[in-house]
């Protein structure tokens, strides 16, 4: 006779046995226990790709960054600073260079030289991997190691942004590991052939997909005092739900949350015992672009009317709980202190002015005061902040007599619609704006990858082109300011705010070195390697 209890107990036993296949084996006999602390960092996603030339998710970046150094990093004032490279710049308009630190080695003992740098850049140019670095190499021709520490870069066209941008976005990978594997666009670098090799402060030693990534200290990391990381191990643990992540931090299961906190959680964690919250300057901005291929939005007065119908202060105060700052409706955010232009001011919230502008443009309101204007605004439902402020934008436009239909959509659909220009108004974020000339060429030149307004203004094009071949920053700054003012005055883009980010960690830990942006924040390699635990 069928006995349900027996059958179900049997099923459970099978499940337990099946799970036993996942049981990890113990450390090899004789391996000494680590003497220093383990820094446990929470992240919300698994690593998708261990090849830093391909991967583009947050976790990919954070973990591979601890193994594959960049040539340059970014300073708190938004300027580029040294990482692997001690010096960088241009010999002439079409030749750049990097001078890297001498005496560096990979964790397997092989020297890290300029040949690794040249190999990385040439291989990316040749194999075209899908990561961010390849996009920076449009004007790159070739790289040559002229000595163990110097790389010279030939450019196909003069480009003042190439050397700093490639230095900032590109990781250097070991030639002796990547070259034998073939194309860098296809190499998974998943450690299946003898593990990983690192020139950062830590090297990945164990992966439990869906659960954790364990990294051990490398004993030669000269970028921090003492020449090696303070913590013996770094463990990244995956918590897909941010609430669970926060509970784990409070409980002491993790020491740091790598992702920036949702605005609503910041104040609560600031007053939680044993938890500290660090402010990280944002390097990105939130914006709306108006699709100028649409006849109504091609008119400057209509775009200006829409820009004046947004209550920016309410968005920053209510939705972002004061954790965002105005950029003066300019791409040149306050964090980019050398470029920031205080004289450029934010669009005033004034629905009456919007009405005047629309009337001036020839539109007539109906009996209810509504103009015959209706626009479709798209945003990603995976972005909770934009989802909230989209409603404020709609309400403000209604006061100006303009109808906005909100279309919140799943992220992949949103990306596809954005790519096809299937929107009237686009609402979204620009994650990292570290180089104004590069950003503006992407956003405002015809054919630019993120030119969502489809603007093609000869005056603006000329300014951006000029900035891209102006190699001295003092000469470039006024050009960029003129370009930003042109964008602002013609509403080619509506920059709404830059969000300051907050990350939380256990107060037993200290020594973190904060850098701007969520990518670097307190989990940049130098910061992680510098972190120490009290007691």
């Amino acid at each position: 006779m069928f006995r349900p209890r027996t059958a179900l107990a049997g099923a459970a036993a099978v499940a337990v046995l099946f799970t036993a296949a996942c049981a990890p084996s113990g450390p090899p006999a004789g391996e000494s226990a680590v003497s220093d602390a383990t820094l446990t960092i929470a992240t919300t996603t698994d690593v998708v790709n261990y090849n830093p030339l391909i991967g583009n998710s947050r976790s990919d970046y954070w973990i591979t960054n601890l193994m594959y150094p960049h040539l340059l990093s970014i300073q708190p004032d938004g300027s580029k600073g040294p990482e692997l490279a001690e010096k960088w710049g241009y010999v002439n308009d079409t030749t750049g260079f990097y001078e890297i630190k001498p005496g560096l080695t990979w964790s397997d003992g092989q020297p890290l030289t300029a040949k690794d740098v040249a190999y990385t850049l040439n291989a990316v140019k040749k194999d075209k991997p899908a990561g961010t670095l390849y996009g920076q190499l449009a004007n790159f021709d070739s790289a040559t190691a002229v000595s163990d520490t110097r790389v010279e870069v030939k450019l196909s066209h003069p480009d003042a942004s190439l050397i700093p941008e490639v230095g900032f976005w590109g990781n250097v990978v070991p030639q002796h590991v990547f070259e034998p594997a073939g194309s860098v666009a296809k190499f998974a670098n998943d450690g299946s052939k003898g593990g990983w090799v690192s020139a950062g402060p830590y090297v990945l030693t164990s992966v439990q997909r869906g659960q954790s990534y364990t990294m051990k200290r490398v004993d030669n990391y000269p970028l921090v005092p003492g020449g090696k990381g303070k913590a013996a191990e770094v463990v990244y643990r995956v918590y897909p739900d941010v609430n669970t992540e926060i509970l784990a931090l409070k409980n002491g299961d993790v020491d740091v949350i790598a992702n920036s906190l949702p605005p609503a959680q910041v104040k609560q964690l600031q007053s939680t015992p044993d938890i500290k919250v660090a402010e990280v300057p944002g390097l990105g901005y939130s914006h709306m672009t108006y699709n100028m291929t649409k006849p109504d939005l091609a008119k400057k007065d209509v775009r200006l009317a829409l820009a004046h119908a947004v209550d920016y202060d309410a968005i920053r105060r209510v939705v972002l709980q004061g954790q965002a700052v105005s950029t003066g409706s300019s791409q040149l955010m306050p964090v980019l202190s050398a470029y920031y232009d205080k004289s450029v001011t934010e669009y005033e919230y004034n629905p009456d002015l919007s009405r005047q502008l629309l009337t001036q443009a020839g539109y007539k309101p109906d009996g209810n005061g509504n103009f015959p204007l209706s626009f479709r605004l798209i945003y990603s439902l995976q972005d909770p902040v934009t989802t909230q402020w989209a409603t404020i934008v709609k309400d403000g436009a209604a006061k100006a007599g303009v109808t906005i239909q909100l279309q919140g959509i799943e992220r992949n659909t949103y990306l596809a619609m954005t790519d096809k220009g299937d929107f009237d108004i686009y609402a979204g974020n620009f994650a990292i704006m570290d180089d104004p000339a590069t950003n503006m060429s992407l956003a405002y030149l015809p054919g630019g990858a993120i030119n969502y307004s489809y603007v093609d203004d000869p005056a603006l094009n000329a300014l951006i082109d000029k900035a891209r071949v102006t190699f001295q920053q003092p000469d470039q700054i006024p050009i960029m300011r003129d370009a930003a003012k042109l964008v602002r005055d013609n509403v080619y883009d509506n920059i709404m705010y830059t969000q300051n980010l907050y990350v939380a960690y256990r107060s037993a830990w200290s020594g973190f070195a904060v850098k701007p942006s969520e990518l670097l924040s307190i989990v940049n390699p130098v910061s992680v390697a510098s972190a120490t635990k009290a007691g």
Partner: protein, 322 residues
């Protein structure tokens, strides 16, 4: 009809069902809005990079060509390679399946062991205080929102009382027997959450079918013949009342084994297959999704077969009809 013929017929029907599911999944995924290249690479990529990505994964070919190639792979037992992770789909699914299996099996065992007696109690004391109390608990359980229950349990038993760990399937740096204990302690709260939300359905199903069974003529006859009440309840009425519950177990296995525990696995940071499917959806990872739905179809077919066989064992009339 012999049992072997019955099983063979069912197998044939199962293969057809799986082919149908595979075909529908293949087509639906390609009808989804969105561009897998955008999900794989940076949105700032050049047109050349996009074309290279689409060519790399065969997405630049016509649908019929893609379909024939996919079926050809399947016949050879090859589920393809994950777009996003670059590993085989079989590996991507199998490394996560045991965790979901553990969670679903253990919660089902507890739910059935608790739910059936509670349902019997409610039916036996129908209209009484115990019945009302059990119904109240069952209905409340059914209306719980899984993530909220999860966070509440984590807060109380994990953070406040410190009885169970917060998130994950096991602790770091534990081996041997300690590892098994760690697995158990990590599974308790997600399992409890599943039990709480499933229990009501079992209790209420058991209660209503048992009340119906207790009104049947054969029960009246058994009582008239002097069979003790407890024996009538547990031996005569319960056996027939178990049929809908058996169906429920089959449905729950199908529902939860592939994908149904997404929310639980997300809240508890549990590395199961539901989370894998969710991540595949976010990344438009067609091969992983196709593999997961193939697995789902296979599970549904197998579980239905097992349910049919159990039906035959429980109810001789079903066997006679077959």
């Amino acid at each position: 009809m012999s049992l072997a013929l019955f099983v063979l017929k069912r197998l044939g029907r199962g293969v057809l069902t799986i082919w149908f599911a595979v075909t529908v999944t293949f087509l639906l995924l390609r009808l989804l809005p969105g561009d897998p290249a955008l999900a794989i690479a940076s949105p700032n990529m050049t047109a050349g990079t996009r074309a290279a990505i689409l060519a790399e994964y065969g997405l630049d070919q016509s649908l019929p060509v893609q379909y024939v190639k996919y079926l050809g792979q399947l016949v050879q037992g090859n589920l393809g390679v994950s777009f996003s992770q670059g590993i085989s789909v079989s590996d991507a699914l199998l490394e996560r399946l045991p965790w979901t299996l553990l969670l679903v099996a253990s919660s089902l065992v507890v739910t059935v062991l608790v739910g059936i007696p509670l349902g019997v109690l409610a039916a036996a004391k129908s209209g009484g205080l115990a019945d009302r109390f059990v119904q109240l608990v069952a209905v409340t359980g059914q209306s719980l929102f899984v993530p909220s229950v999860g966070i509440l349990l984590l807060y109380v038993f994990g953070l406040r009382l410190g009885l169970f760990p917060i998130g994950g399937a096991y602790g770091e740096g534990v081996y041997g027997g300690q590892w098994y204990l760690s697995v158990i302690s990590h599974a308790v709260l997600p399992c409890l959450s599943l039990v709480l939300v499933q229990l009501g359905q079992y209790v209420l199903t058991m209660r209503s079918t048992l009340i119906d069974a207790l009104g049947e003529d054969y029960v009246t006859l058994a009582r008239a013949n002097g069979v003790p009440g407890r024996r009538v309840l547990w031996k005569h009425a319960l056996r027939n009342a178990l049929l809908p519950t058996t169906t429920l177990v089959g449905l729950q296995v199908c529902l939860y084994l592939v994908g149904g525990v997404i929310l639980i696995e997300t809240v508890y940071a549990y590395p199961g297959i539901g989370r894998g499917i969710y991540e595949a959806v976010v990344r438009l990872d067609f091969p992983v999704l196709q593999g997961a739905f193939l697995l789902l179809a296979a599970v549904v077919v197998v579980v239905n077969m097992i349910t049919d066989i159990i039906y035959g064992v429980l109810d001789p009339r079903v066997k006679a009809a077959a």
